[in-house]
Amino acid sequence: MYDIAVIGKGPAGVSAAINANARNKSVILFGVDSKKVLSSPSIPNYPGLPDIKGTSLVEMLCNHLEETSAVVSNKKVNAVYSMDDSFTIQAETEMFEAKSVILAAGVDFKKSIENEDTFLGMGISYCATCDAPLYKGKTVAVVGYNQESIDETKFLSEVCSKVYFIPLLKGDYQFSNNVEIVKDVPVKFDGDMKAKKLVLQNSEIAADGFFILKDSYPLTTLIPGLEVEGPHVVVNRHMETNIKGLFAAGDVTGKPYQIAKALGEGQVAALTAVEYMAKK
């Protein structure tokens, strides 16, 4: 079991890992280099390093991280479960355990479809592998944003009697006869107790279940039970969330979306996590 699991390899995550390591805590960090920082041609307001390039800063952060004993994994974290005294982190098909978690996953601006949040778990699912068997012999619709959604649709077509596939990606795909491809733009979900139909710009699809398959999920799907406000996690000045042992830092906690602020919050989160473990 690790002392601290850090989710996210942007400035906040790297800062948290470096500071936790300085306090002799074992750290595992999940993530890939921050696209947002990498794509900044220059960072004019980073004190002491005027006009440093995004790529240079990422390289320096990575070098610093490599000097620590933190373990770095590029696996994608699917879910973090609070098991009271510890956390179980599911990263792709592997499970990891940690005494505390620092969420530094950045912020996602992608809008969801109208009523997607309302009906989540009530006719709408983000995980075909998880919930497909509930729709054995039934009709489902898949809104596919990513490459994986093609494989998931194939899997669903083996379980369900009929699958509508609404591709929101470019690519080649071939399905069996019970898959109908609908090239249209989703507008909203309609239903009463549960989602019953998907309204698109030019048509409507009625189905027993709807799968939305995309790369990043709402924070409450990543960490069930987490208190959020829009796309941000609710934290206090110590970077504590509503789940004990779970801290957050960086863009995920809200504006300003600035590197210096992320680094500072990563440090505070790491020190609060250290204090939390000392009290246990």
Binding site: Y81, D84, M122, G123, I124, C130, K194, G225, I243
Partner: protein
């Protein structure tokens, strides 16, 4: 250990129970359901006497699962006097499940 209920004994075990019953709808193939199992053991111990907890495998018990429109698992439904009085879809930490049960029962 948490008891398993099924389609045939659901009425006597859950609906006609004098004690409120929290039903955990789950399945063998569901990862989050497995994570929830030890959490519910803890909740059961903490709320002993106040609430019973039973598990229902949705694959083996399609009647109860479809009666209560289970479309994603794990789903927890709290029954009191034969009626559902609260529902949680998805994994939650023990603290939050206990707070939800207490909230629903003290209404």
């Amino acid at each position: 250990m948490i008891d398993h209920a099924n389609d045939s004994n659901f009425e006597s075990r859950v609906l006609n129970s004098n004690t409120p019953v929290l039903v955990d709808f789950w399945a063998q193939w569901c990862g989050p359901c497995k994570m929830l199992a030890p959490v519910l053991e803890k909740v059961a111990a903490n709320l002993e006497g106040k609430v019973d907890i039973v598990k229902i495998d949705v694959d083996e018990n399609p009647i109860v699962a479809s009666t209560y429109d289970i479309s994603s698992i794990p789903t927890l439904i709290l029954f009191k006097d034969g009626k559902p009085v609260g529902k949680i879809v998805g994994f939650r930490p023990a603290e939050q499940i206990e707070a939800a049960i207490n909230g629903a029962l003290n209404k």
